[in-house]
């Protein structure tokens, strides 16, 4: 997990510089106030209880006041220009650029689609490094917010609107983030994983992701595939290469190759998966997936099928 001080993108570097200037200026102001408060408190403390003499009744000083207005005004001016320039540099208008990825926020997971391909992923977003990437966001329901701290700027994703943010990722790696706008019951579990690849790796990943789902080979998984097709799973979930084309829930085409499930709630393994299918509300109360009353065998079959979708 990064912080705003880890700068994974070129944009975040710019922000980091601005943050630093601000921290310096703010520290100077704060130390001045702390210093003056402490000094005056000690120096002018009333000590002698018998002394009732009144101090000098000074009540204003125009010159001092002007300085006290002038200094903050100048600082404000300086930071306005820094802010203005930084925004212009890191958030240029999108124009008609084609985004590298389109993000759609859902209660409570992220959908990512990659323009020019059929590829969709959920919660784990893959991006290449070294390119000036446009990330576009919208929402399918309520307002969410897209933020990966080490990338810098966040972006509210709002139903009916398309927002954007830029990122030029520097190094391959996994970068974590989370939804930042309160979006209901499971706002806590709407975490983001961005997997950044070298351009060559990214092309490889994209080509693999564009493949339809692997055909199940063993009997158990094949049984699972049949249940999936019959049991209404397919009305919400898509598995490319099969008849399942639902768009309500996450795309499961390559579910088995994901590291986490349920937007960062749990590692993706067969026992978590089985628990989820047994009772979604027990793992993630409020999640919009119905509970199906499956026999243990059915759950085993479904689990084998989904885990095999690499």
């Amino acid at each position: 997990m990064g912080s705003i001080f880890s700068t994974a993108t070129v944009e975040a570097e710019r922000l980091h510089t601005l943050d630093l200037y601000f921290i310096i200026a703010a520290s100077v102001v704060l130390l001045t106030v702390i210093g003056a408060t402490t000094y005056f408190s000690l120096k002018y403390r009333h000590r002698d209880h018998d002394d009732h003499a009144e101090p000098l009744q000074t009540s204003s000083n125009l010159k001092l006041e002007s300085v006290l207005v002038g200094i903050p005004a100048l600082m404000v001016l300086a930071f306005f220009f820094l802010s203005f320039n930084t925004t212009k540099a890191v958030l240029p208008p999108a124009g008609d650029s084609v985004p590298a990825v389109r993000i759609t926020g859902h209660q409570w997971w992220w959908q990512a689609s990659y323009p020019g391909t059929d590829v969709q992923t959920a919660n784990e977003i893959h991006l290449p490094i070294g390119r000036h990437l446009l990330i576009e966001g919208t929402s399918a329901d309520v307002i969410h917010d897209w933020w990966v701290p080490s990338f810098g700027d966040k972006m509210d994703v709002i139903p009916g609107l398309h927002n954007h943010v830029w990122a030029t990722i520097k190094e391959p790696g996994v970068y974590e983030g989370a939804c930042n706008e309160f979006c209901g019951q499971q706002h806590a579990w709407m975490r983001i994983r961005v997997v950044a690849h070298t351009p060559a790796d990214y092309e490889r990943w994209l080509a693999a992701a564009a493949q339809p789902a692997a055909e199940p080979t063993d009997r158990l998984a094949q049984a699972g595939a049949q249940v999936f097709a019959r049991a209404a799973c397919s009305s919400c979930h898509q598995i490319r290469g099969t008849a399942a084309h639902g768009q309500q829930g996450p795309d499961l085409t390559h579910f088995g190759s994901r590291e986490t499930m349920l937007a960062g709630l749990l590692p993706n393994n067969e026992s978590n998966l089985a628990n989820w299918l047994r009772n979604p509300q027990a793992l993630k109360p409020g999640a919009h997936m119905p509970r199906f009353i499956f026999a243990p065998d059915t759950i085993r079959a479904l689990t084998a099928y989904l885990a095999g979708l690499k």
Binding site: M1, F22, V33, Y44, H46, P55, F84, D156, N180
Partner: protein, 556 residues
């Protein structure tokens, strides 16, 4: 209607005055005290809510509350603290003090005054009734659309939110109209506008802000009720509404609101700094002027709550400029209070201790506020725990410290009793330490990327430890609040008598008995400067006589 006999009971716990007399009272002092009790009661409720929340957050992946209860509690905590603690506390001080400070015998409209109080109380009770009616509001105190709509929150909580806040809002607006008329029409002879105590000035600005800002909230609440109950389409995108309309309406109210709750404290602090430093407040004209400037600017900055919604760089930069600008008059005030201390003879009563520490805590909150006015910094930190830290440094380190300074300053006037100074000092230290432990840490959590309003969080490095510390700080503050209640009750029972003027103060309210009689004043002393009582006590050194000698002294 039973009328109070001779002297008023003040804050007394004695029952000889009878409950009915309190309930039916139209006396501004009794109403003011009831406002303060209301604020204290809701403070204990809102505090209990947040302690449950801090238990839930003490360790990662905790299951103590569960998401649903958690969301209701944090929504109720925020809404309660803003609307049913801060607002009644402010209006309590104002209702009690404004007539006394301007030498009047009551507010302009005593019956309206009572109505305002009861509307506020019933608004709060109505909102809390939602717990029994099928679920409390759960979409946060700012209750964003479309999450606040029937499609996403079908429980009745949000309807109670609307109804409760509408009631309270009507009470607040009527109380403000009452204050404005009282201040403009009922000042004693000689009290020109430039002789008004800073607190009265700040309440005048605050009341104007209320009547300009609350209609926006009240309209939004009515629209939301229409959406939810009659399927109007104001805020629901899929029916052709706008999700951002709510935010514009809400923050057009909400931003002035944050000044509504801070300006009265600025007023209180100006009195406190002056009296305990034994000097006139430094730069009266600048302090009052910057208060008015803040009041005007407050309506031009609401979009800084919306930098991340994508209004574009032009709009964002405009509102960044106006927001940063507000830092200037605010900074002016801090330096003016420091200048008031300078060269003074400072008595560190508990009240003055809160005032002094306010300077530091509020500066921290103010600086992080400027950080949010800088668009790129806001885009990093908004809606993280850094915001939680910021707003509590402003609301607690600013507003509440000011209100507590006021409480310790005026309690003897209201009750006729002195508070136990030693215990009060304990309260101060416990509260200040607890406060900083709780919230300083949250700045760090925010920069680490912890979103606000999450009922739990993953076990990332440092997150558990920092949250645990923050929870411990919260419990220190809780203990401090209980101590405060004890201190108040103990003083009411058996505190030493205060006398009319225990602090050797400057303004008119101290010229009458403590607590004041039903008819506030037998005779109001002449007013010719901001410190009439001091002029009265020290005629040879009166402010208004010294115009030539003392450089820049105000007065006639």
């Amino acid at each position: 209607m039973p009328e109070p006999v001779e002297a008023l009971p003040g804050l007394s716990l004695d029952t000889d005055q009878g409950l009915l007399q309190w309930i039916s009272s139209v006396d501004h002092k009794q109403l003011g005290i009831m406002y303060l009790w209301t604020a204290l009661a809701f403070m204990l409720v809102g505090g209990a809510e947040i302690l449950l929340i801090r238990i839930q957050l003490a360790v990662p992946r905790n299951t103590f509350l569960g998401p649903e209860m958690y969301n209701e509690l944090f929504t109720m905590h925020g809404t309660t603290m803003i609307f049913f603690v801060a607002m009644p506390a402010i209006f309590g001080f104002a209702t009690y003090l404004v007539p006394l400070m301007i030498g009047a015998n009551d507010m302009a409209f005593p019956r309206l005054n009572a109505l305002s109080l009861w509307l506020t109380i019933f608004g709060g009770l109505l909102m809390y009734f939602s717990f029994l009616a099928g679920g409390a509001p759960n979409a946060g105190w700012f209750n964003y659309a479309p999450l606040n709509g029937y499609n996403y929150s079908s429980q009745p909580g949000i309807d109670y939110y609307c109804a409760g806040l509408l009631l309270g809002g009507i009470g607040t607006v009527s109380a403000s109209i009452n204050l404005i008329v009282t201040i403009l029409r009922y000042r004693t002879a000689g009290m020109a506008l430039h002789n008004m105590p800073v607190f009265v000035w700040m309440m005048l600005v605050t009341a104007c802000l209320v009547i300009a800002a609350f209609p926006s909230l009240n309209a939004a609440l009515a629209m939301l009720l229409l959406d939810r109950r009659l399927h109007a389409h104001f805020f629901e995108v899929h029916d052709g509404g706008s999700a951002l309309l709510w935010q514009h309406l809400f923050w057009l109210f909400g931003h002035p609101e944050v000044y509504i709750v801070i300006l009265p404290s600025f007023g209180i602090l100006s009195e406190v700094f002056s009296v305990y430093s034994r000097k006139p407040v430094f730069g009266y004209v600048f302090i009052v002027g910057s208060g008015i400037a803040i009041g005007l600017l407050a309506f031009g900055v609401w979009v800084h709550h919306m930098f991340a919604v994508g209004l574009g760089n032009t709009a964002n930069n405009f509102f960044a400029a106006s927001s940063m600008l507000i830092g200037v008059p605010t900074g002016v005030k801090v330096f003016n209070w420091l200048a008031t201390m300078r060269g003074g003879s400072i008595r560190f009563t508990t009240s003055m201790m809160f005032a002094t520490s306010f300077l530091v805590e509020f500066t921290i909150g103010g600086l992080s506020g400027i950080a949010f006015a800088i668009v790129p910094i806001d885009l990093q930190l908004t809606d993280t725990y850094f915001v939680v830290a910021h707003l509590h440094y402003v609301l607690i380190g600013g507003t509440l410290f000011g209100l507590l300074a006021g409480l310790f300053y005026w309690f003897p006037k209201m009750s006729g009793r002195m508070l136990n100074e030693r215990l009060s000092n304990w309260f101060f230290w416990l509260f200040v330490v607890g406060f900083n432990v709780t919230f300083m840490i949250q700045h760090v959590l925010g920069t680490l990327g912890m979103p606000r309003r999450v009922y739990t969080y993953p076990d990332l490095p440092g997150w558990g430890t920092l949250n645990l510390l923050s929870s411990i700080g919260g419990f220190l503050m809780g203990a401090a609040m209980l101590l405060l209640v004890y201190i108040i009750v103990q003083a009411l029972r058996s505190g030493p008598r205060a006398g009319a003027d225990p602090w050797d103060a400057y303004t008119l309210e101290w010229t009458t008995t403590s607590p004041p009689p039903l008819q506030n004043f037998d005779r109001v002393i002449p007013v010719a400067s901001v410190r009439p009582f001091r002029d009265f006590k020290m005629p040879h050194d009166a402010d208004h006589k010294e115009v030539g000698k003392r450089k820049g002294i105000y007065g006639k």
